[in-house]
């Protein structure tokens, strides 16, 4: 069972939730797809970490064979290629590694070679396997790293997998939820939070994914625009997490609340049980 945890904005509690779900559902796997700024490892502090380099293929042309016909330049929809002063210029950061230029070249002057864009680090914390995707500084596209993470977990055979998605609703999020059987949407009680929740509801519906909402940072007696949005649209609410002082302190110290305190273990276990009920229906 692959469960993706996502939110329309940053800072709603995706990592706190997915780390704690993985911690109460052992044996389990936690996957950090927020490759621009992974932080789940700060909680798990994994041991026996093995890094695997992630690379993409980028083209280069043999200047002795290339005759400057520019078929490849015209073919590349991303305009990652230019021909100027008898040279094919490759803009590696614009290239999407489709390989089309090497196929279209009438003289077979183009070959592809790997370029490192990031790393996947795999380790363990108790009965939790942790995979962290990390994009190199200066890179623009995290997708190749997320694809590598998805490949790793589909080969793992592990039963309970929690995917901590990047914030927002862009293509990196779509790649992270593509194989998920269930999506958990984390929201916060602000108008901004409700607006962004609406955006990811639209996203998971586009992908035809079953989903439910966790209302985070709840304050007693305060209005929650995210909850109102759920009620208006009859969306399933999986659970509510209070804006709790102790939870906040544990989290800020990089501790896993459900491992530290029985009250939080029970709270996250209840949420996990609720999710499994929804998945099995």
């Amino acid at each position: 069972m692959k469960i993706a945890v996502l939110s329309g904005k940053g800072g709603t509690g995706k990592t706190m939730l997915s780390v704690n779900l993985a911690a109460v559902a052992t044996p389990s796997t936690y996957v950090d797809c927020d490759v621009e700024e992974p932080n789940g490892y700060l909680f798990f502090k994994p041991e026996d970490v093995r890094p695997e380099i992630v690379s993409v293929l980028v083209p280069s042309a043999d200047p002795n064979i290339c005759n400057g016909c520019k078929e490849c330049v015209r073919f590349c929809k991303f305009h990652a290629l230019a021909h100027s002063g008898e040279h094919l210029i490759v803009f590696e950061d614009v290239c999407h590694s489709c390989g089309g230029c090497s196929l279209i070249c009438p003289l077979n002057a183009i070959t592809e070679h790997p370029r490192t864009v990031g790393v996947v680090e795999s380790g363990r914390s108790g009965e939790v396997t942790i995979h962290t995707g990390r994009m190199n500084v200066g890179e623009a596209a995290g997708l190749p790293i997320i694809r590598k993470l998805m490949k790793k977990i589909s080969e793992s055979g592990q039963e309970r997998i929690f995917i901590d998605c990047p914030p927002g609703s862009s293509c990196t999020v779509m790649e992270s939820i593509r194989d998920a059987e269930f999506c958990v949407l984390v929201s916060e009680p602000t108008i901004f939070g409700a607006h962004n929740l609406e955006m990811i509801v639209e996203l998971v519906r586009t992908f035809d994914k079953p989903f439910g909402v966790i209302l985070n940072k709840r304050l007693d007696g305060e209005k929650d625009p995210s909850e109102e949005y759920c009620h208006r649209n009859c969306l399933p609410i999986l659970g509510k997490i209070p804006f709790d002082h102790e939870l906040g302190i544990l989290n800020s110290e990089g501790k896993i609340a459900s491992r530290e305190n029985g009250r939080f273990f029970q709270m996250f276990k209840d949420i996990y049980d609720h999710i499994t009920e929804c998945v099995s229906i």
Binding site: F78, A82, S84, V94, A140, S170
Partner: protein, 121 residues
């Protein structure tokens, strides 16, 4: 010698476009004949790599000199390979910039910007 400029309209007294990659037209002025021709910028609506595509169009036009208010990194590296000189425009229409250049009143563009790409502000 051929001089090229990113321009808003297909006429010599046109304003210069502030974006080299997204300019709607290029004006190509031939100093031998004193006449101008105009062509559409293929990159004006490109979702990606507009600076590179526009620079390729400039290279393919046979221009020797580009007059522009701004130029990004990627476009500049394409222009540089062919040895196209890049000069900074001054306020005023395209044709007066050409005259200013021919009289030696324009200076080379010395600041090349990083470019504004997808997803950035």
């Amino acid at each position: 010698m051929k001089i090229i400029l990113p321009v808003e309209k297909e006429q010599e007294n046109t304003d210069i476009c502030q974006s080299l990659g997204r300019t709607p037209y290029f004006m190509l002025y031939d100093t031998n004949t004193g006449s101008s021709e105009f062509f559409q910028n293929p990159a004006s609506n490109s979702p990606s790599g507009a600076g590179i595509e526009a620079a390729q169009a400039i290279v393919d036009s046979g221009a020797n000199t580009l007059l522009t208010p701004r130029c990004g990194n990627n476009a500049y590296s394409v222009l540089k390979k062919t040895g196209i000189a890049v000069f900074r425009t001054i306020p005023g229409p395209a044709i007066s910039n050409i005259h200013a250049f021919l009289e030696g009143d324009l200076s080379e563009l010395d600041t090349i910007h990083e470019g504004r790409h997808h997803g950035e502000n």
